[in-house]
């Protein structure tokens, strides 16, 4: 085996005083060899990103390395001065970040920003810089490189911007590439292309790649070696094959067990049950008014969509960003006004209802949103927010409070929660409180709009289980909107696939997944990472001491 490019020994990074633990990273050791992809996996707060920032010397001022060594190409980079380290960055080691939308300076063209790498580290003449940059744009498979070269970041999509960041990182052929959740903010099809690019790079460039991720399927897709982190410590490391299939540490096992399976746990036949929600030809068109040199246009955010939801059924609505799934939900609930179509709940149409009668109609259909931090009012107690619905519908406050206490227990929180404020809860707890708030008015239908997308896998699993349990216990019907096919597969009975504002495929979950009809569905399924990996059944593994 080749000598490692990067070898981190016993690295400890201190957190500022007053945090919930003294170290962001504690006693971490790992190695990255040339031509090898090492994945660091962990949930939020595990310290996985801190490790990569420490290596790049990009730690925020409040975090300090207190001990350990980071040997890169034989030199301890912790002893380097800022300007010495700057000479390595972008040249010998390079980094790709999570959020492509904000990673580029809005004031300069992307060509300019890539060329800046050459400008900072070489004395290449201008023409050569440009030629190299165009070649790089080709290498990261950008269409029409000369045009892209002169484009500003805001003119490119998220996936394209991420390719620009990758092009920058590759510019001077670094021996170490660090990628911090590089595909988390991207659609699954873009993710597949970028992961494929990483696999190629390892071969063509021979660079060592350190990839930080929370997603075990991404690990399964690209990793040679895996490092699992929990609360700043490495709990397990080994080859991808070992860690993925025969995890030894209980925490690794817990994480792998929480990975959503690509099939439903239980499927039910709902065909004979009564319809509780019928959507007919619902559409949303935005009119762009005429302006200088441009005629008025109409943009269909949602083309006429129809579907039915039956009692006790969970209907998954799957699509990538921009597919129109959020527009569908918002138009259905009249959070935005639809341009046409009907939405029948109990035989009454929400889409054409007067503002005044909308209130009582919406009572039957409630929603849980994606962002656990934005969906609770930070200035009101949980109790106050829970009783809001029933009180608006005429229930007395004390009676509503009684129901609130009951529901808080159902979502497995303590009754004291009612007198607290949202900032006193974790993301998963908040999402459970949002579910409780929605259930306070006893709806027949619960809409979950990306309700688990912002949560760590283990928390995600709990919330999904809770939702299924509540659905069965209360006889609810559910609309489950998600971009994550795996999650959709796990919870839904039927599924609708959306693309470009249109429903392109629908059917029972097993049928859509095993025998997709539409080209887009096939493409989406093919792009799912980790398909070669059969998630092991943790219960059959030999026991280990914790």
């Amino acid at each position: 085996m080749a000598a490692p490019i990067l070898s981190i020994t016993d690295l400890t990074v201190d957190l500022p005083r007053g945090g919930d633990r003294p170290h962001a990273v504690e006693g971490l050791s790992l190695e990255v060899a040339p031509g090898e992809i090492v994945c660091i996996v962990g949930e939020s707060g595990s310290g996985k990103s801190i490790t990569s920032f420490a290596t790049m010397s990009l730690l925020p001022r409040s975090l300090k390395v207190s001990s350990g060594r980071i040997l890169f190409e034989g030199r301890d980079i912790l002893t380097l001065s800022e300007s010495e380290h700057a000479k390595l960055r972008g040249h010998r080691m390079a980094m790709i970040f999570q959020e492509p939308m904000t990673a580029l300076n809005p004031c300069y063209t992307v060509g300019d920003q890539i060329e800046e790498v050459f400008l900072s580290h070489t004395d290449m003449p201008k023409a050569e810089r440009k030629a190299k940059t165009i070649a790089l744009l080709e290498e990261v498979r950008m269409p029409d490189p000369p045009r892209i070269h002169a484009s500003y970041p805001h003119q490119l999509s998220g996936g394209q911007r991420q390719r620009i960041v990758i092009a920058m990182a590759l510019a001077l052929n670094p021996s170490l590439l660090i990628a911090d959740e590089p595909t988390t903010a991207l659609d699954v099809t873009t993710q597949a292309q970028i992961l494929a690019m990483f696999r190629d790079l390892r071969k063509t460039r021979g660079a060592g790649i350190m990839l930080v991720t929370h997603d075990f399927d991404v690990v399964a897709e690209v990793a040679d070696k895996v490092v699992v982190m929990q609360k700043g410590r490495v709990v397990e490391q080994g080859t991808a094959e070992e860690v993925l299939n025969r995890p030894r540490h209980p925490y690794t096992r817990q994480l792998i067990d929480a990975v959503p399976r690509r099939q439903a746990e239980v499927t039910q036949d709902v065909s004979g049950r009564p319809v509780v929600l019928r959507v007919e030809g619902l559409e949303k068109i935005y009119r762009v008014p005429a302006s200088f040199g441009r005629a008025a246009r109409e943009v269909a955010a949602l083309k006429p969509a129809s579907f039915e939801l039956r009692e006790g059924e969970t209907l998954g609505i799957v699509g990538e960003s921009g597919s129109g799934k959020t527009t569908l939900v918002r138009a259905m609930l009249r959070l935005i006004d639809p341009s046409g179509g009907q939405v029948f709940v109990d035989g009454r149409d929400i889409a054409s209802a007067q503002r005044s009668s909308l209130r009582s109609l919406r009572r039957d259909i409630q929603i849980v949103f994606q962002d656990p931090y934005g969906s609770l009012n930070p200035r009101r107690t949980i109790g106050d927010q829970l009783v809001e619905g029933p009180v608006n519908f005429g229930m007395s406050r004390s009676e509503a409070m009684k129901r609130a206490r009951e529901l808080v227990r159902i979502v497995r929180l303590e009754e004291e929660a009612l007198s607290r404020y949202p900032n006193q809860f974790s993301g998963g707890q908040r999402q459970r409180l949002c579910i409780a708030r929605a259930l306070m008015v006893e709806p027949k239908i619960l809409v979950a709009d990306e309700a688990v997308s912002a949560l760590d896998v283990s928390v995600q699993k709990e919330v999904l289980r809770l939702l299924a349990e509540i659905r069965d216990r209360m006889g609810l019907s559910m609309l489950f909107i998600t971009h994550d096919l795996r999650v959709a597969a796990q919870v839904s009975d039927h599924v609708i696939v959306m693309s470009k504002g249109e429903i392109v495929e629908r059917g029972p979950i097993a049928q859509v997944f095993n025998d997709p009809q539409h080209a887009y569905t096939r493409q989406l399924l093919a792009a799912m990472p980790g398909q070669g990996w059969e998630v092991p059944d943790i219960s059959t593994l030999p026991p280990v001491s914790a």
Binding site: L58, E82, F97, T102, A103, C107, E116, Y152, V165, F292
Partner: protein
Amino acid sequence: MLRYLLGRLGMAALVALTVSVISFGLIYMAGDPAVALAGENATPEIIAQIRAQHGYDRPIAVQYLDWLAHALRGDFGVSPYFKIEVATLIADRLRITMTLGVLGISFALLVGVPMGVLAAMRPNSMIDRAALFIAVVGQAIPSFWFGLILIVLFAVNLGWLPASGADSWKGFVLPTIVLGYYATPAIMRLTRTGMIEVLGSDYIRTARAKGVPPRKILFKHALRNAVIPVVSLAAVQMGFMLGGSIVTESVFALHGAGYLAWQSISRNDLPTMQALILIFSLFYIIFTFLADALNAWLDPRLRD
């Protein structure tokens, strides 16, 4: 970009029109203008005569359009107090005020922007705290009082600079400081918050990850972005300075448009008052429009 600017231009025109209505309406604010002009003890016949003479007996809309049509041609009538054309009077006085405005905003930018950048480089450091403290102190000093103090100190006690008048460049030093210091804290604060936000942004991290030298990160990547809102603020502040020139010019006895405004108001010289309010407002509208245009050039996102 054309669309963005045309939108702004439309708003600017609408605002200008509204301001003209308000300026015109001023003469009716204190009641019947004919009565006011006639003075005390005027007989009803004299009042009626004045009313007819000035056209105050026509419908208000007609009077306004007539006034506006003249104003657009630069004709604001004759000042009853100075007994000369208002337009000539103002044109004569505006030079000093504009010089002062340009000097004042330059002073504010030259002090405020570097101070803001310096403070933002080390948030919560001694430099930062000192800069913020100076800003709070600066904002709390009334400018007329500050002017008087400067006169006592530099003109009376030290004798370095003249206490009043605009005979040489020396006469502009103190007024520039008095006019400029009041805008400095706002510019400094906006530069500081802008720089702190930008320096914490993802694209600065990207630039650092590329190995771009720190100085270049600060000036090429950070300042360029942080300065965009400062441009708008500077335009607004420059507009405010024209208003502020009333105070400054009367403290330093500079015979500019601000001083003229004060004279016309205390002498109840309505045509001059109307013209000055309209002109000062138009300057503000022009400055902010130019700032919008400059920002469209600085920020590629506004161009599409």
